[in-house]
């Protein structure tokens, strides 16, 4: 029995990796090969798909648009969540616990619920098809999440640290920026990572609120057919590139990610 104990994890990993492998595999094939035959390796290895994405502005602008609103959203969410989380972590005020819970309930509604009101509102104020529109819409989900994560990390810091700083003579903001923020740097990283991820993978609002100027990559990708017919190789290459930013960001917070999933409460 013990000779085969590697078998189950190995199968599991193969099972998990297979779709990603297949995506990668397809991205190096021509569309004809994908449609014409079943091959485990690209018979005709080609980088044309990637070349097309990096040269054609309708493709690469999708990435630029997505990254733009994701970064704007992450910056806004974390910046706004920091003082809010500090208040929840350090002060008692009327209704604090209810308000804190209510924040989380914002995450419980499906984004589709908000698509229509956002669409109408942003069209009315002229924000439709801008990066900021998507960034703001995603704040609805990301700010509560960031507040919860940051509050968890902040509550792990004893309030005596704050008091010591005040006693030493630090005014509040100087303490907050110079001492408190570096102390919870890991928490800020994790909160930013989660905001980044949710905003990066969210499709419905991003698609609804944009048309041309701020069109996200996911919207470009779901356009399966074009004038030249099916371009499966191209789509696979685009998909592969979409995984990269997430993998890149996760590397920096890999040691804290479990704590982040527990909303900072470990």
């Amino acid at each position: 029995m013990t000779r085969y104990k590697w078998l189950v994890p190995a199968l599991y990993i193969i099972f998990l990796m297979l779709p990603i492998y297949w995506l990668l595999n397809m991205s190096f094939k021509t569309t004809n090969e994908i449609l014409g035959s079943f091959t485990l390796f690209p018979a005709e290895f080609t980088l044309d798909n990637y070349r097309k994405i990096f040269t054609d502005s309708t493709w690469y602008m999708g990435y630029v648009n997505s990254l733009t609103y994701v970064v704007i959203n992450t910056v806004i969410s974390v910046t706004v969540a920091l003082p809010a989380a500090y208040a929840f972590s350090r002060y008692r005020f009327v209704g604090d616990k209810h308000l804190f819970f209510w924040l989380l309930t914002n995450r419980m509604a499906p984004p589709a619920v908000f698509a229509l009101p956002f669409f109408q509102l942003y069209s009315a104020v002229g924000l439709f098809d801008t990066h900021i529109a998507v960034a703001l819409a995603h704040c609805l989900f990301n700010i509560p999440l960031a507040v919860w994560i940051l509050e968890g990390f902040m509550s792990g810091v004893p309030k005596e640290l704050d008091e010591t700083a005040y006693v030493d003579g630090y005014p509040f903001w100087r303490f907050f920026i110079k001492i408190f923020l570096p102390t919870i740097a890991a928490g800020i990283g994790v909160a930013a990572f989660f905001c980044f991820m949710f905003s990066w993978v969210e499709l419905l609002l991003a698609k609804t609120l944009t048309s041309v100027e701020a069109k996200p990559i996911a919207a470009t990708m779901t356009r399966t057919a074009s004038t030249s017919g099916y371009e499966l190789g191209l789509l696979a290459a685009a998909g592969t590139l979409t995984i990269i930013p997430g993998a890149f960001v996760i590397y920096f917070v890999r040691n804290y990610i479990a704590k982040g999933f527990a909303l900072g409460r470990v």
Binding site: E163, T164, D168, I179, A185
Partner: protein, 355 residues
């Protein structure tokens, strides 16, 4: 440079954390706040520091009303039971931080920090981060930060409680030396009566949010004002019982009675509470005589030079503390003698009537 609390009360919701307190701290030596956990020591310290506002009452410092003045404006420093340091600053920057905020020149900061680090034996660790230090060194860093500016008021909230025994003794010996020659009021909160006695100075006994007594430490120890103050300032706990005085004898029960010592003969007949410290009860023959007690041994703790024996006396559990090894088996009926002239006599309400 005296700190004065005038009619200070601290309430939170329906709970009263500090009942009306009037206290004028001594300017020299240590002011010790002695009380159990939750007796209000930390709240009182935070009010003194200006971190908490009293619900009513005033805080005066050096003849000025400083109630409501921001803690940053007051020249105080504080050390906590937990080792609080800025985790991403080096030890040097930790110690330097109060001076940096105050905008001192950097060569002056350097010389000040070096001087304090030397005093607290931190010189070899100056470039490390606090997390790389032992608990003792972390607390030394916190102390150094409290000492580096010439604070008028230094608040120490059980600073030695989280240290292991050896380090605690070592640092406790050093503390009074660190403050010698400084002009500042030092307040030191502790749960341990022994610590209060070792540090000397003045002591305030705290019990459930009330300062029950304040004065020179040895004075408070020798002449407690009431039963509560006496119990707060006794470790192991003070032995108490209700006794009846008839004629010139005290009767604890049918079997145990003793002649009232000279200072207590004048008391009217009636019911009293007595309090007697454990070291005034020793195994029969080990002391200088006194009233004989017989009790069933419950626990014996031997510390090498000392024996602490808990025994059942009627429906009270009493404690005897004596020098040397006096081993008793659990359940054994042992004889003790009580130095009755050291007993405090309190009225039924707990006020001292003779000591």
């Amino acid at each position: 440079m005296a700190l004065e609390l005038r009619n200070v009360v601290k309430r939170e919701g329906a709970n009263t954390h500090i009942y009306e307190t009037n206290l004028t701290l001594a300017e020299d030596g240590f002011n010790i706040l002695l009380g159990t956990t939750l007796s209000g020591k930390t709240t009182l310290l935070q009010i003194m520091a200006g971190l908490e506002l009293p619900s009513s009452g005033e805080i005066w410092f050096d003849g000025q009303n400083v109630t409501g003045e921001a803690v940053q404006k007051r020249n105080v420093s504080m050390v906590y039971q937990q080792f609080i340091n800025y985790p991403h600053f080096t030890v040097f920057e930790n110690i330097a931080s109060p001076l940096r905020v105050a905008g001192e020149a950097s060569d002056k900061i350097r010389s000040r920090v070096m001087q304090i680090a030397d005093l607290l034996k931190l010189t070899p660790m100056l470039e490390r981060n606090p997390s790389e230090l032992s608990g003792g060194q972390q607390q030394r860093t916190a102390l150094a930060r409290a000492l580096v500016k010439d604070a008028d008021l230094v608040l120490l909230d059980e600073p030695l409680a989280n240290l292991d025994f050896k380090l605690r003794e070592e640092l406790r010996d050093e503390l009074p030396k660190l403050f010698a020659g400084r002009r500042c009021t030092v307040v030191y909160a502790t749960t341990e009566p022994v610590e209060a006695l070792l540090l000397g100075g003045h002591t305030a006994t705290l019990h459930e949010g009330r300062v029950t007594q304040f004065g020179p430490t040895s004075e408070i120890y020798r002449n407690p004002k009431d039963l509560v103050s006496a119990s707060v300032f006794s470790d192991p706990p003070i032995n108490t019982a209700t006794v009846t005085k008839r004629g010139d004898r005290f009767h604890l029960d049918e079997a145990i009675s003793w002649a009232a010592p000279e200072t207590q003969t004048g008391l009217a007949d009636g019911s009293y509470r007595i309090g007697i410290r454990p070291h005034h009860i020793v195994p029969a023959g080990a002391g200088e005589g006194g009233a004989k007690l017989t009790g069933q041994v419950m626990i014996t703790e031997l510390s090498g030079s000392e024996s602490v024996v808990h025994f059942q006396l009627g429906n009270h559990t009493w404690v005897s503390q004596s020098h040397g090894i006096h081993g008793h088996d659990v359940g054994e009926v042992a004889e003790f003698e009580m130095a009755v002239d050291h007993a405090f006599v309190f009225s039924e309400g707990g006020e001292v009537v003779a000591g």
